[in-house]
Amino acid sequence: MSHRSKLLSFLSALLLPLLSFAQERIILLNEGNWQSDNGKITYFEDGKIVSNQWFRDVNGSKLGDTPNDIIAVNDNLIAIAINWSNIVQFITPDGKAVAATEDVPNNRKLATDGDYVYISSYGHECRVGDKYEEFTKGFVAKIDATTFKVIAAVEVGYEPEGIAYYDGRLFVANTGGYAFQESHEYETTVSVIDAATMKVERTVDTGQINLYGKMSQSGKYLCINSPGNYYEVPAAAIILDCEAVIAGKPDKECFVSLPYAATYSCVTTDGRFYAIGSRYSYLTGDYTFNYISIDPEIAMLTEGLDGIYEDFPGTVLADIKKIGMPYGLYVNPYTGYIYATDAAGFVEGGTLYQWSPEGKLLGKHGVYINPAHFLALKPDNYTGGINDVIADPADSDSPLYNLQGIRISSPTPGQIYIRNGKKYIYKQQ
């Protein structure tokens, strides 16, 4: 075999996955068990599990302890918050580790505007540049997605959890979740931060305590879960209108509070929220389940009297009700395929359920322990657009990575590099 044909076969091997035009590409974070260092990534493509330890397969190393959130920063970069490892891990869409930072300990949830990653933290110290900043309460850090360094951090409420980016602002749900152990009380507020200056602009009081767990975003609307305190105060779901907040409307006109748990929530392709969960009290030991879909616009207009339905497509609702321990819920924003996970008994691997957009159960797949957090990758040859994913517009300005995932500033002509998630041969420009 000549060198040339060797090179050709090598290149075609590299390009084959791209030529197969994968449509459904889902990354699923399995949290693993706390302090067992067994967080793992499942990579799922077109109805098949490619790997239940994708990060290990690609990088030959472990992901860390309790991965807690994952987002696509832009077409080339994905950020993962690994809570108990105190690590924010950056990977390319094909799973290669690019960079990692330990500057944001006890990190929780992620948001992005495409250039910066914003991350909430329960911790009290953050390395900003070369020095440590200390906070009495929790904070939000801003990481430059090109240098992977924290460039600013701002104090918010105690134990800030969910975070969303909308129109130049960050909306941060404060839990005060350590209230049952520490001396402070639960928080009831959403902190609104100017993302450019990293200053708190406004604090919206929702009247509901402990704004904990997954926060979903549908355009200008957020769905925020309040589990209550699990004693006298029951769970609630809050729909917040970010534009009303920015417009400076009074707190009460910015949100509506619904008597449901939104423990697991997600956004549908038509802009609704799915919210499932249970309202539980230690006092009685009773819990009541709800499986709802929320039209945020109608819910806001009618102050929660309308806009709440139990209409999931096809068999989705019936199937979810049978799940022993629901642990995650997701709709692929590109394709509308629906996903849920079952954590079962927490020592065995969980199960990933997949439904078609019409709600036909397509399959159940064995995954790892505590499968919780989803990210859909853009389908190959995808041309549509999505509201809340901001693609990097200037293709030739996008950062360039080598096949090891290391960012390259001066590429060598003729070598293969990755830009915007695609492999290509660099030519002299």
């Binding site: 190393s61 490892s85 330990e102 110290e125 520490e182 589990p227 423990t263 249970s278 790892y368």
Partner: protein, 653 residues
């Protein structure tokens, strides 16, 4: 047993018969202690006491092992799994035949050490030098005059305090790896039938041992931090005839190290720190009347203080927990035995225990538990047949000002029955026991976890066993084998509440367990030489029978439970010197069902102990984990590798 005087031989035989000591001691230096067992009330040689399934380490054998705590000694028994978070400060609990640590009752001189808060006893808190013997009974001991609580656990560990036989004063100093320093003073007396001792011990250890994780996905090298411990312990005991008493105080501060997880820097976060202050005083009195009656009174008061902090001083980024727990526990029992005929013994007993728990947790209210137990038991022997049966009644009632009230009272009857047949040196036995553990105060009332609707966790045990022993003037050998089946229902575990982000105690889980326990021991004596070989083997298959619809876990082995484990200990003694070599093998254990790679590797631990015993000076050198095997009981909690201990004791008189 050529070298043992006839009188002593008789005593040893009595002890054998009593089942207190399964193998008689062959070390001359132990004779003085053994004599004291004559004070015990002995019944005829065909007493049904030998019915119980027991393993024991006593006297010189116990002291010959390379051990720092009771947990170290128990790991040599068949059917025992030790759970250890590593290091000197780590919590050490035992699990017997997969029943779970909370089904193991731990007794010191016949009175149970309890912890109403969490139901487990940290065996790391008890050290060996003051003990005469450590025994493990599956189900329970079968004595003729027992308290009701002695029938109330699935397995029982007895620690028996050594009664002094003369006046002495000694000091001990120890130097060990990982910056460990220990000092001990022991004073004892024996006058006019009274005897007693005071024993004080202080230990300080940094516990900064190195560890390494090397696999396909990592090569993590580090040194354990926050594994330090400092403790002081003072014990005193007083005995006369049927009266015995014991006072104990323990105070410690220790680090609670976390799991070794991926970190970019080599900084492995600490989880917390713990301060303990434990105090108990106990007394018991035993008297026989007219050879037909026996009466035993036990009483105890215990106080436990625990402060737990997350380590936020060094780690600013975790929850700032600083909680204080206080427990008081008062216990009284009265047991009576009646022997209407030679072949029958009837045991009736009533126990009452009152426990108070207070904690500065939010949403917590002090709780008081009244725990009453009554037992009726019979034991009989007829020719070569023996039998025992008991019915135990337990009643638990909690009191609290909590708004929703306390959990409903719990009362249950549980039976047990044992049968035995002896032919010459061979004894066959079969027993059945049903027992439960009540939900602990933590299980029911702990903030954001407690569940007032918990049911008790039941165990049912079936056992078939055989024992054979052989003795000649030079030789002694015994073999014991048991096959068993256990069922555990309604396991009490902490699980997330469906559809929420919070956790709660729940009854979830059934276990079905089959196993084989074997022990074999032999001794040979010749002139100045003494050789002992002690072996134990556990083969166990315990299966998760929780959820038949879950094919990922149903009928799979229980996590952390090895199929095979065994221990071999050889002791060679010559005049004043002795060498002990122990090898412990623990087979592969899975720790999750999710991935075939989620297993803890099998390991072999070889320990050595060399001691020299002169009239005024005792010296010993120990090497633990001789081959520096890196192993874990809990994933990501590395155990210390090879370590050394040098101990010197000086006896003033």
């Amino acid at each position: 047993m050529k070298t043992i005087p006839a009188g002593l031989l008789r005593i040893s035989l009595c002890m054998l018969v009593m089942g207190i000591i399964s193998c008689c001691s062959v070390f001359a230096m132990e004779t003085a202690d053994s004599v004291l067992h004559l004070d015990e009330i002995l019944v005829s040689a065909n007493s049904p006491r030998k019915l119980a399934t027991v393993q024991e380490l006593s006297g010189a054998e116990l002291q010959s092992l390379s051990t720092t705590s009771i947990a170290d000694a128990l790991k040599y028994f068949a059917g025992v799994q030790i759970k250890d978070y590593g290091g000197l400060g780590g919590l050490k609990t035992v699990n017997v035949r997969s029943l779970g640590a909370q089904h193991v009752g731990v007794y010191i001189d016949g009175i149970r050490i309890t912890n109403a808060q969490n139901g487990t006893v940290d065996l790391g808190k008890f050290s060996l030098p003051t003990l005469e013997s450590v025994s493990l009974y599956n189900a329970n001991k079968l004595d003729v005059c027992q308290s009701a609580s002695e029938y109330a656990s699935g397995a029982t560990v007895y620690m028996r305090t050594r009664k002094p036989t003369g006046d002495s004063l000694s000091v001990t100093a120890r130097l060990a790896s990982f910056h460990t320093y220990m000092g001990r003073v022991n004073a004892q007396f024996c006058h006019n039938g009274w005897s007693g001792f005071i024993d004080g011990e202080y230990l300080n250890s940094k516990g900064d041992y190195p560890f390494r994780y090397k696999s396909q996905y990592e090569d993590t090298v580090g040194r354990r931090t926050n594994s330090d411990i400092e403790y002081g312990r003072v014990e005193a005991a007083l005995f006369k005839n049927g009266f015995s008493s014991h006072a104990y105080y323990y105070q410690s501060e220790r680090g609670c190290p976390g799991g070794i997880v991926r970190r970019l820097s080599d900084k492995y976060n600490n989880v917390g720190r713990e301060w303990d202050r434990d105090l108990f005083v106990q007394a018991s009195y035993q008297q026989s009347f007219a050879e037909k009656f026996q009466l035993k009174l036990n009483s105890k008061y215990a106080h436990e203080y625990l402060r737990y902090c997350t380590d936020y001083l060094e780690n600013q980024n975790t929850a700032r927990v600083d909680n204080h727990y206080r427990q008081h526990d008062a216990f009284m029992s009265v047991s009576a035995a009646y022997f209407p005929f030679d072949m029958l013994a009837v045991n009736l007993a009533y126990d009452a225990r009152m426990s108070w728990l207070d904690a500065d947790l939010k949403m917590f209210c002090p709780v008081r538990r009244v725990d009453q137990k009554a037992v009726a038991a019979v034991q009989f022997n007829y020719r070569s047949f023996r039998g025992a049966a008991s019915i135990l009644y337990q009643h638990f009632k909690d009191h609290t000002r909590l708004k929703v009230g306390a959990a409903d009272p719990l009362s249950r009857f549980t039976p047990s029955v044992s049968l035995g047949y002896t032919f010459r040196n061979l004894t066959l036995k079969a027993w059945y026991k049903s027992i439960f553990r009540a939900p602990t105060l933590n299980d029911i009332y702990y903030t954001q976890a407690g569940n007032r609707n918990l049911k008790p966790e039941y165990t049912k045990q079936f056992d078939l066993g055989a024992e054979y022993s052989y003795s000649s003037p030079d030789w002694f050998a015994s073999v014991q084998a048991d096959v068993y089946v256990n069922h555990i229902d309604d396991r009490i575990v902490c699980l997330p509440v469906k559809g929420t982000y919070t956790w709660s105690m729940m009854n979830y889980g059934k276990t079905y367990c089959r196993g084989l326990n074997m022990t074999a021991s032999g001794r040979y004596m010749s002139g100045p030489w003494n050789f002992s070989l002690l072996t134990s083997l556990t083969w166990q298959r315990d299966l998760n029978r929780t959820d038949p619809s879950n094919e990922n876990s149903y009928n799979k082995p229980i996590c952390y439970s090895p199929t095979l484990s065994f221990g071999i200990t050889g002791i060679a003694a010559w005049r004043n010197y002795s060498l002990t070599v122990s090898e412990l093998h623990v087979g592969e254990r899975m720790w999750s069902y999710a991935d075939p790679e989620d297993v803890l590797s099998p390991y072999n631990n070889v320990d050595l102990k060399l001691s020299a015993n002169f009239s005024k000076v005792l010296a010993s050198l120990e090497v633990n984990d001789l081959f520096d095997v890196q192993y874990e009981h809990i994933p990501r909690y590395p155990m210390p590798g090879r370590n050394f201990r040098f101990t010197l004791t000086y006896i003033f008189f």
